[in-house]
């Protein structure tokens, strides 16, 4: 009988997802707030459970619950909580049933929790498949049949990735007769690798890359993200980015990086292309959600590129950069959740024209978050950029640093265009009143920013302790 105690919090969350359907079916007086409250309390319980398990050092054959995984889980839980809170207002204003959204999001969340802490290859693949399915379902949520085309394309692409994943899994199991990732890694360490071994490993890595939304698997995801409703789009974009990164780090850390050198070189090449693809596409793009996606593509490229040796310093820089980026992106989402015109949320760049003349505080905050993503000094993002550039210098990757700056200029131009529209253009429409929920979260982000700027050591030292 496998030890399932360590995975109890995840089981709890999955059950809550099922509970949502029951409540939705048998309880009549439901509002979006009902499901939000349930999700919120289940996330609190989840975090409490994770911390308790960590405190009592509960061990399992299938899962590792170390400080780092708990940290990832808490960060993801907080992000999920913020997104759920902002989404609740969206559902309230649209007067739509939110049960499906919260249930799918919780299952997606469960999948992410599994993939960042499992030692079992089957569970890893199961988690990945769950994530893909949930992302696909979220992308279709509240879309009319004719609007579901991009979602279906995303589904087809996900199915192909699943096939690759299952093939890789079958091949690896056939070769090693083991599900334990460490044993499998040991098996491969002692033998010379053939092309199929490399292909199987690449199959796993491609799926992780797909979860991250990195080149070459990003196109269908970005389209789906663009077409999805704002809450789904936020979940699809933010949660897999952080969770996928955790999975990438743990999976790569457990397998032997040096044995699959070629594949890691390939991943670095993908990361490099992602940076430029993200930066160039950002300049051309006019849809706000797609702009965030391309920013994420750029950021994940930078984070992976700085992970050359997987040593502690690289990891610290990369993780810090990504966390700061996520905070900034959540800040931008907070602003998007606040901007409405006649009840419709804004999605095009042209619709935020002259925002400054109507909502000056929101415009200034948008500028702060954009500058943070770009890494301008005296914004939190600068600390992330500094860490990344410092790691490039330590690795003596001067050319990579040069290209990083080139891409930085491209995204800066794109952000300047947004600022131009927001600050320097005349207003084109009278926006609705801002809801207080988003303002609360934006204020929290600003406090996080201020702490980070005044005392970055507070974040860095704590993160370093966790990594070491």
């Amino acid at each position: 009988m496998p030890n399932i105690v360590s995975v109890l919090p995840e089981i709890l969350l999955s059950c809550v997802g099922i509970l949502f359907f029951l409540i939705n079916k048998y309880r009549t007086a439901n509002t979006p707030k009902t499901f939000y409250s349930l999700s919120k309390y289940s996330l609190y319980l989840f975090v409490l459970g994770e911390i308790t398990l960590r405190y009592f050092d509960v061990k399992s054959d299938f899962f590792h619950n170390d400080a780092m995984t708990v940290f990832y889980k808490i960060i993801l839980s907080v992000s999920a909580l913020i997104i759920f809170s902002m989404s609740c207002k969206w559902f309230l204003s649209k007067n739509l049933n939110s049960a499906m959204f919260y249930a799918l999001s919780l299952w997606l969340f469960c999948g992410l929790m599994l993939v960042i802490s499992t030692n079992h290859l089957m569970i890893l693949c199961g988690g990945m498949i769950l994530i893909m399915l949930m992302q696909y379902a979220l992308s279709l949520l509240y879309k009319e049949d004719e609007e579901r085309q991009t979602g279906h394309q995303f589904g087809i692409f996900s199915a192909i990735m699943m096939l690759i994943l299952i093939s890789s899994l079958a091949y690896v199991y056939h070769q090693t007769l083991s599900w334990d990732i460490k044993s499998i890694a040991m098996h491969y360490k002692n033998k010379s690798l053939n092309i199929w071994d490399n292909m199987a490993y690449l199959g796993f890595m491609l799926n992780i890359i797909y979860m991250l939304g990195m080149f070459p698997t990003h196109i269908s995801k970005i389209q789906a993200h663009k077409a999805a409703i704002l809450p789904s789009s936020t979940v699809i974009q933010v949660l897999p980015l952080l969770g996928g990164y955790g999975c990438f780090v743990f999976f790569s850390g457990q397998t032997v990086v040096s044995d699959f050198k070629l594949i890691f070189q390939l991943i670095h090449l993908f990361a490099f292309i992602s940076i430029f693809w993200g930066a160039f596409s950002l300049i051309k793009e006019n849809n706000l959600k797609a702009m965030i996606s391309y920013s994420c593509l750029y950021a994940i490229g930078v984070a992976i590129l700085s992970l050359k040796n997987f040593d502690k310093d690289n990891l610290l820089s990369s993780l810090l950069y990504l966390i700061i980026f996520t905070v900034s992106v959540l800040g931008i989402y907070g602003i998007l959740f606040s901007l409405k015109y006649k009840g419709e949320y804004l999605s095009e760049l042209s619709s935020v024209q002259g925002l400054y003349s109507q909502k000056p505080m929101l415009a200034v905050l948008l500028c702060v978050f954009l500058m943070s993503i770009a890494g301008m000094p005296l914004s939190l993002g600068f600390i992330g950029k500094l860490q990344i550039v410092d790691s490039f210098v330590l690795l003596e990757e001067y050319w990579v640093m040069f290209f990083f700056f080139m891409a930085f200029f491209l995204i800066l131009i794109a952000y300047l265009n947004i600022i131009n529209q927001v600050f320097f253009s005349e207003k084109c429409q009278n926006l609705d009143r801002i809801n207080n929920g988003s303002i609360f979260w934006i204020s929290v982000f600003i406090i996080v920013f201020l702490i980070g700027i005044l005392n970055p050591a507070f974040y860095i030292e704590n993160l370093e302790k966790l990594i070491r």
Binding site: D313, L316, Y356, P360, C367, M371, M376, P377, L378, F382, I383, L386, V389, D390, V393, L394, M401, F405, F408, F409, L412, I413, L416, N417, I419, N420, F423, F424, N455, P456, A457, I460, E461, E464
Partner: protein, 478 residues
């Protein structure tokens, strides 16, 4: 001297706090209490008092930075933020603050988006203060880059620049310089394994390739802020079109940051191999000076004439800094103090005349005849600007020019020619504005500058006069 009261941090914090209070203040309306203006001016004047207090605390004759404040900002990489001041930075700070007061008072009746203007101006001031009190290369870089954001927003909102791409390009090209600086700073950190004081950099020997790269990157980034060819194009395309005096004042502080960087970072001993680079820069500089001064002379736009004057003088100061002589550097700083006040006053007067002109729909020829108070101060400031013995500009520029002439007579002559041309341009403009025969009032009701404003201007003239007598006169008065 270690400073326990954190007075320098306060100098950065006060405008920032002022900005927050201004943000909370009620937007000004015609004829009603102008809280935004009052709060902003109060913040700047409070800082002037703080700066004068710092002057009292600092032993001006002792070399090095004073009132050092040190914070460990980050452990990995190990970054210490160091603040410190000396007479150079204090003079600059004081001049900028007085310029801000003049600017704020000058636009007090302009209610269009006044709150925005004040908020971003104070944010900019806070960043500039951070820049001038930086005692280490890291904080120097941070404020060097951070000041671009409020400036960019001000240019975009108030610049009245028809083509927005100019502003984007201007920002991006400034960012190129800033990124070069950033690269140099990160390399330096890894090279020296820790924080680096400003003075340590000027002691660098420039012996290997990395050191050359670091120095070159900093050199280009600083140069990109000064309107020397080829950088002058972007700067002129933005600055010469500005119609808001406060934004103009802010935009002329940007070249000052580049110049100040040169004063701080120019190595005390430059290797011989760099002689050719310096010579090339000198040649480019004097050609730019001559070119800009001629365009300024020909151009009918008063704003462009002022811009060309500013450019020519900045380049002259740059050439002075490149001589690397200690006494010249000090004179440049004394001269810059008066120079900043003069160009601020000229800009504000020019703005006042533009406003009156557009309000009454009259030609500006001979216009000053109808404004006796304005005419007095305008005349005084113009004469001080062309180099008459009315401010510290006279003596300091005399010393700078004589040194440059002694170093290289050909270049010195071209430079002198450029200065004469821009001075003639300013004088011509003044005489045109004072030409009584061309003045055609058309029976319009003229409103001269009010008594309080005139008093402030007279006080500025007094400060200029006193700076001629003794550049640091206020240290002995207070």
């Amino acid at each position: 001297m270690l400073n326990s009261f954190s007075i320098l941090s306060l100098i950065v914090a006060i405008p920032f706090l002022g900005m927050l209070f201004t943000l909370a203040a009620k937007e000004a309306e015609n004829g009603k209490t102008n809280n935004v203006f009052n709060v902003a001016v109060f913040a700047v004047i409070s800082n002037i008092i703080m700066i004068l207090r710092v002057f009292m605390l600092v032993k001006l004759n002792e070399p090095g930075l004073h009132l050092i404040e040190k914070y460990n900002w980050m452990k990995k990489p190990n970054i210490d933020i160091i603040f410190g001041v000396d007479v150079l930075s204090l003079m600059m700070l004081l001049a900028i603050h007085i310029a801000f007061v003049i600017g704020f008072v000058g636009i007090r009746n302009n209610y269009k988006k006044q709150k925005t203007l004040m908020v971003f101006s104070l944010l900019f001031l806070s960043m500039v203060n951070g820049f001038f009190i930086s005692g280490d290369i890291f904080s120097f870089y941070m404020f060097f880059e951070a000041m671009l954001i409020p400036q960019f927003l001000l240019l975009g909102i108030f610049g009245n620049i028809k083509r927005k791409e100019y502003i984007n390009r201007f920002f991006v090209y400034n960012m190129v310089g800033a990124i070069l600086f950033f690269t140099a700073v990160v390399l330096l950190f890894n090279y020296h394994k820790g924080s680096l004081g400003l003075q340590q950099l000027s002691l660098m020997n420039l012996s290997n390739r990395l050191e050359y790269f670091i120095w070159g990157a900093i050199f280009i980034s600083l140069l990109s802020r000064i309107p020397v060819w080829p950088f002058h194009y972007w700067i002129s395309s933005v600055d010469s079109n500005l119609r808001n005096p406060m934004v103009f004042i802010i935009s002329i502080i940007i070249p000052l940051t580049g110049l100040y960087g040169f004063i701080r970072f120019l190595p005390q001993t430059l290797p011989q191999v760099l002689d050719i680079v310096i010579l090339l820069l000198q040649i480019i500089s004097v050609i730019t000076m001559l070119f800009i001064s001629l365009i300024g002379y020909i151009n009918k736009d008063r704003q462009y004439k002022l811009f060309s004057y500013i450019t020519v003088y900045y380049i002259m100061y740059l050439l002075g800094v490149l001589t690397g002589k200690e006494d010249i550097l000090l004179n440049i700083v004394y001269s810059l103090f008066s120079y900043l006040l003069i160009v601020t006053c000229l800009e504000i007067f020019s703005y006042y005349l533009y406003k009156e002109q557009s309000e009454h729909s009259v030609l500006d020829d001979g216009m000053l005849c109808a404004y006796p108070r304005l005419s007095i101060v305008y005349g005084f400031v113009t004469l001080a600007a062309v180099g008459l013995p009315l401010s510290s500009l006279f003596m300091s520029n005399f010393l700078i020019l004589s040194n440059l002439l002694a170093d290289n007579i050909q270049m010195g002559i071209i430079m002198l020619l450029a200065i004469i041309i821009v001075s003639c341009a300013l004088l011509n403009e003044f005489f045109r504005l004072r030409d009584f025969e061309k003045w055609n009032a058309n029976g319009v009701e003229i409103k001269d500058i009010n008594g309080k404003y005139f008093a402030l201007m007279l006080f500025v003239c007094f400060c200029l006069m006193m700076s001629f007598v003794k550049p640091l006169w206020f240290v002995f008065v207070f």
